[in-house]
């Protein structure tokens, strides 16, 4: 039931010589310094970065939340740089799911309404909307917590609400920025198994940032960043 992209000739995502520069003059900082990356349908990628910069920026660019300073981002063969703001919004709405490091849930809003939000923008009728949202909460193991607000949930529970919100639309690509950063190891494994199942069962392409090799081991492919560049691209062979 995933949103199949029409053409299957080109890779799903392609970054060509992408630069992202913050600040000017002395304070100038290159977060991305010429990134070349190809992501195919069905990939499960762990992005690792020992230097601590670049990977989040890369995720934001991939999620169309941030615009690169230069370079090309092709999504299913379409140059994202040529799209209007509204077209970008529709791309995010229909094909991308994003799990933020800081959750970015609406506070004072129930878990259910948070998860419903992307479906409202998709224009789903109320009945189907809450059914799918409850289902997504079920998948992440929060069935009893639908009417709790983020303030009433633990960090791990908030993380899972954020995951439910990202997968409720069954996106083509799931972008996760340190999805296990706030969880203990057993919870982390649960989340990773969840992401693996999305990848294998729902055919969702997953790109995940992590700094833990244990978690990266769940991925089919590991990409290492250093100083804003991809320095290693290993195939795990789905070893998990």
């Amino acid at each position: 039931m995933s949103n199949a992209i029409v053409s299957h000739q080109s890779p799903l995502i392609e970054l060509r010589e992408v630069y992202k520069v913050y600040g000017t003059g002395q304070a100038k900082m290159q977060a991305l310094a010429g990134v070349n990356l190809t992501i195919n349908r069905g990939d499960f990628i762990a992005v690792m970065d020992s230097s601590g910069s670049g990977k989040s920026t890369c995720m934001n660019v991939l999620g169309c939340l941030d615009t690169p300073t230069s370079g090309q981002y092709l999504f299913d063969g379409i140059d994202v740089g040529t799209l209007s703001r509204d077209q970008l919004a529709l791309l995010r709405r229909n094909y991308l799911g994003f799990i933020f490091q800081g959750f970015n849930l609406l506070n004072r809003t129930s878990a259910l309404e948070n998860v419903e939000l992307p479906l409202i923008y998709r224009g789903l009728p109320a009945g189907e909307r809450s059914e799918r949202a409850l289902n997504a909460l079920n998948v992440v193991g929060l069935s009893g917590w639908a009417h709790h607000t983020p303030g009433e949930l633990s960090g791990g529970q908030q993380q899972r609400v954020a995951i439910a919100r990202a997968i409720v639309t069954q996106p083509a690509v799931l972008l996760a920025d340190e999805p296990t950063g706030n969880l203990d190891s057993s919870r982390s494994r649960e989340i990773m198994e969840l992401l693996s199942s999305f990848n294998s069962e729902l055919d969702i392409t997953v790109v995940m940032v992590t700094h833990e090799p244990d978690m990266a081991a769940f991925a089919k492919r590991q990409i290492h960043f250093l100083d804003g560049q991809v320095v290693r691209d290993d195939d795990n062979g789905g070893a998990h």
């Binding site: 934001n60 999620g63 169309c64 939340l65 941030d66 615009t67 703001r85 509204d86 919004a89 529709l90 995010r92 709405r93 229909n94 991308l96 994003f98 933020f100 970015n104 849930l105 609406l106 004072r108 809003t109 309404e113 939000l117 992307p118 409202i120 923008y121 998709r122 224009g123 919100r165």
Partner: protein
């Protein structure tokens, strides 16, 4: 898309109850203050105008002496009946000349007594003062000439002495003599100055002079000018006539006063208009303060709202969807505040108008202006910060601090 925006706006209002409440409150206070003040002010103006009109705006009051400032008058000899007759004879464009004299006295009927003002005058008094007979009749010429012991009473005197009884044909005692009631005047209510115009007993001038005052003095001549004629010209003609009759040299001041009710009415309605404007200005300040309150609430929440907008954009909301949601939210809150404000103002001004004895005048323009102003404040300060945020890249909006 609109329905989605309404749904999201309602969720947003429910999520931020306090903020929504304060926004609505600011609008309610602003709208209600302006409407109440202007309505009461307008009612007071109308009341003054009506009272002056009931007195007859074409009325000239001629009295001996000059006003010397607060309540003081220079002494001067009173008029004689001949002065009034001369005015009636020689001045054009007037329809009634009522010479009168009055004094306070206690009137007694049975066990009831009431202290009132006794007015000695002619039938012209009823014409000049626009008096209407509730029942009974005015004096006849022979009664006036003979100085008969008869009287016409005002509504307040009737109420005090007779209650529910019919006063016509009854005899009341005025100081040393008793007289028969032949007429009852229609109620006029309070005068502009706050005195009760209906608290009087009118008797023929001759009766007054013979039985009460014991002299021929005329203390006041009321002259009503024909409709459409300039009171100013008549006033001047009367002044010249009286100067001549009272032998005042050209270099001397008048020793009498001609008051023009139109001038007084203009002056009074001028004052109430100034007061209304003043009240309106005070109210406008409260509207402004309410507006600034709304502005503060909106601006304080910009950080939170910017992050919220970032989340919505990141999830796939288009800029115009976010803006429509904020616009709907602002319009809903502003309209709610405006409607509550108008309802409160109407209740408040009807109550206040009753308490103050002022007529209630509904001023649709003020209602519209104050509603639109506060709605505009709500919408502008709710919408424009949101617009700024919605134009950012999602990641910038999310990082906003």
């Amino acid at each position: 898309m609109l329905w989605n925006a309404v749904l999201l706006a309602m969720r947003e209002i429910r999520r931020n109850l306090m903020r929504s409440f304060l926004t609505v409150l600011g609008i309610v206070i602003g709208v209600a203050a302006v409407i109440i003040m202007v309505t009461i002010g307008g009612g007071a103006t109308l009341q003054v105008t009506e009272q002056v009109a009931s007195l007859g705006s074409n009325l000239l009051l001629v009295s001996p002496g000059q006003r010397m400032g607060m309540g003081q008058r220079s002494s001067a000899s009173a008029f004689r009946l001949a002065d009034a007759e001369a005015i009636a004879r020689e001045i054009n464009n007037i329809n009634a000349v009522a010479p009168s004299s009055s004094q306070g006295a206690t009137v007694v009927y049975g066990n009831e007594n009431w202290s009132t003002s006794i007015m000695g005058s002619t039938n012209q008094f009823f014409v000049a003062g626009n008096w209407i007979f509730e029942s009974g009749r005015a004096f006849t010429q022979s009664e006036l000439r003979a100085g008969k012991a008869i009287c016409v009473i005002g509504e307040s005197v009737r109420k005090e002495l007779f209650g529910s009884q019919n006063p016509l044909g009854q005899k009341i005692r005025l100081e040393k003599f008793s007289c028969e009631i032949i007429g009852l005047l229609n109620a006029k209510g309070q005068s502009t100055m706050g005195t009760d115009q209906d608290d009087l007993v009118v008797i023929p001038l001759r009766t007054f002079q013979r039985r009460l005052s014991g002299n021929q003095d005329i203390k006041l001549i009321q002259i009503s000018v024909n409709d459409g004629q300039s009171t100013q010209k008549v006033k001047q003609a009367i002044g010249e006539l009286l100067r001549e009759r009272r032998h005042i040299a050209t270099n001397e001041e008048d020793d009498f006063t001609v008051m023009d009710m139109k001038e007084i009415s203009n002056m009074l309605s001028g004052i109430t208009k100034v007061l209304t404007t003043l009240l309106g200005a005070v109210a406008a300040v409260s509207l402004l303060v309410g507006g600034i309150g709304i502005m503060n609430i909106m601006l304080v929440s910009v950080t939170e709202r910017t992050r919220e907008i970032g989340i919505r954009l990141a999830i796939g909301a288009m800029e115009r969807e976010v803006l429509l949601q904020f616009l709907v939210e602002a319009v809903m809150l502003s309209s709610l505040g405006g409607i509550i404000g108008i309802i409160l103002a109407l209740i408040g001004s009807v109550t206040l108008a009753n308490l103050m004895g002022v007529p209630f005048v509904f001023n649709l323009i003020i209602v519209a202006i104050s509603f639109l102003f506060s709605a505009a404040v709500g919408v502008i300060f709710g919408y424009f910060p949101a617009r700024k945020a919605a134009q950012l890249d999602p990641i910038e909006a999310l990082r906003h601090e």
